[in-house]
Symmetry: C2
Subunit: 299 residues, 2 copies
């Protein structure tokens, strides 16, 4: 059930698969007065995850990372089977970052036979990613509810990269009175602008160049916004054109409210630019806030 | 926000309307090493509720009763507006029973503008009460999730009278990994056999005589079972006939598995007899396990 890994120059991280043991370890830490930070992941850890873990490590005295490729958030024709699972590498990265506990349950332990309960967030989940991936946010809300019960943390960390997921979780946490704080961390980008994602490993070199159309569309639309453009239509068309020119099959490109994911027209500094599309078999998403210009990559 | 009631010969119970204060009071009790028992109610307390509260009082060192008429579990044509709300009397009863905390939030605090998250338990909620009252169990599962987050108890007490609700909550607690124990308490009956219910106050004397058809049907069917009858069809028909003869408009009368609420045929000692029907405008439900014969009332 329980394993101890000694990796990365003597750094040790405890890996727990059992739900009750994981919960007990967190309760023990809390009873000792520790502030518990939780980073839920599907593994295949990249710099984006590491930025969440590092922030948790700075802000909390006990850091838990969960690694669970959640089947209920994948559609029947999506990439559940081929989703990358470099488990030993993930555990080593957690050890290196000083994580206290890795929680890595089995799908059977999370969804035993007869499983039948789901959490639905209405409204926001029907648009954009929700429309493209029916059932996806139901799976996310359900597994996050379960994880929050198993790992009773003080604060949980999510990436701004999955902006709509973040909005769904914030809504759910407020609505269901979950007793924890949600912290969002900025999207991490490769030097060429591509938002880091576990799915980037699917891209061959040509597809990867193609994928740069997402971030290029976002940054170009933000420049246009900063130059005075406020039309949702104009900004959306611009982003769509850039993505199509890069060879991306566009799912959507829009200007939305970052909490409700309703379209914003005219665009304001409180709005979020969002894009999604497919490069070959790989579906990629990205977003860029209009409210704070982070350092811009070179295209 | 916070009130103190001194009632019933000096007995004091704290009444809290604010969600954060209620949660904080429970956390304080837990930090002091107390075992917290929670009895969620819609008020209009009767002997059934009191039996839950007394059991909580025996088993726990801190007892919380919530009083909240949950709008999301009522259908559009149901009795939300006329549901009895004898709040002062309820608080007095809680004080008399030695309850430590009454949590009585407002509907606006529980479901603020923009509220959009719901918990669905599939399968079991589609049958019987779920079929008769669309959305009812969604409302129940949602409010119980919220209450379990606001009142982080060690154990929560529910009545066997609402057997399908109990099964839905047990399923939800297992599926979503809620960290608390669910205890079921036997149905309390008036001396004539009628299961006590907050809705019994709607009945005029003639309707009340009519309503006895529910418990009479259950106890007669159990006698027939004990005499060897195992046919679901025969037991259902018997219960339906007795209810109809009493002037009850039957919604259902069946033999089911107490966990899944799937029909059981032939009937076994692990099965549950369930009935529901309407007497005038009042909808009543009742049930009787085949597995343990409690003391039988006189008809």
């Amino acid at each position: 059930m329980q394993q101890f890994h000694t990796v990365y120059g003597g750094a040790v991280v405890e890996v727990v698969r059992d739900l009750q043991r994981a919960r007990q370890a967190v309760l023990t830490a809390r009873a000792a007065g520790k502030r518990v930070g939780f980073v839920p992941t599907m593994g295949a850890l990249h710099e984006g995850h590491l930025s969440l873990i590092r922030r948790a490590r700075r802000e909390c005295s006990f850091v838990v990372v969960s690694i669970f490729v959640n089947p209920t958030q994948f559609g029947p024709n999506e990439d559940l089977d081929r989703y990358p699972r470099p488990f030993q590498r993930d555990v080593q990265l957690c050890a290196r970052e000083g994580v206290d506990l890795v929680f890595a349950p089995s799908p059977e332990a999370m969804y035993p036979a007869g499983y039948s309960t789901y959490v639905d967030v209405e409204g926001i989940t029907e648009r954009y990613e929700g429309a493209c991936r029916p059932g996806h946010f139901r799976g996310v809300a359900t597994v996050v509810t379960k994880l929050f019960h198993i790992i009773p943390a003080d604060v949980a960390y999510f990436g701004q990269k999955d902006a709509q997921q973040l909005a769904v979780i914030r809504r759910m946490v407020a609505d269901l009175n979950f007793p924890l704080e949600i912290v969002a961390c900025d999207t991490v980008r490769d030097p060429d602008g591509l938002a880091v994602s576990s799915r980037n490993v699917y891209l061959d070199p040509q597809q990867r160049r193609s994928a740069l159309g997402l971030s290029r569309a976002l940054f170009e639309a933000r420049r246009r916004f900063q130059a005075g453009e406020r039309s949702r239509e104009a900004l959306g068309t611009l982003m769509r054109r850039i993505m199509e020119q890069s060879g991306i099959a566009v799912d959507y490109a829009d200007v939305v409210d970052p909490e409700s994911f309703e379209p914003v027209d005219p665009a304001t500094e409180q709005a979020l630019l969002i894009v999604a599309g497919r490069v070959g078999q790989t579906r990629l998403i990205d977003n860029l806030p209009l409210w704070t210009p982070p350092p811009e990559p070179t295209h």
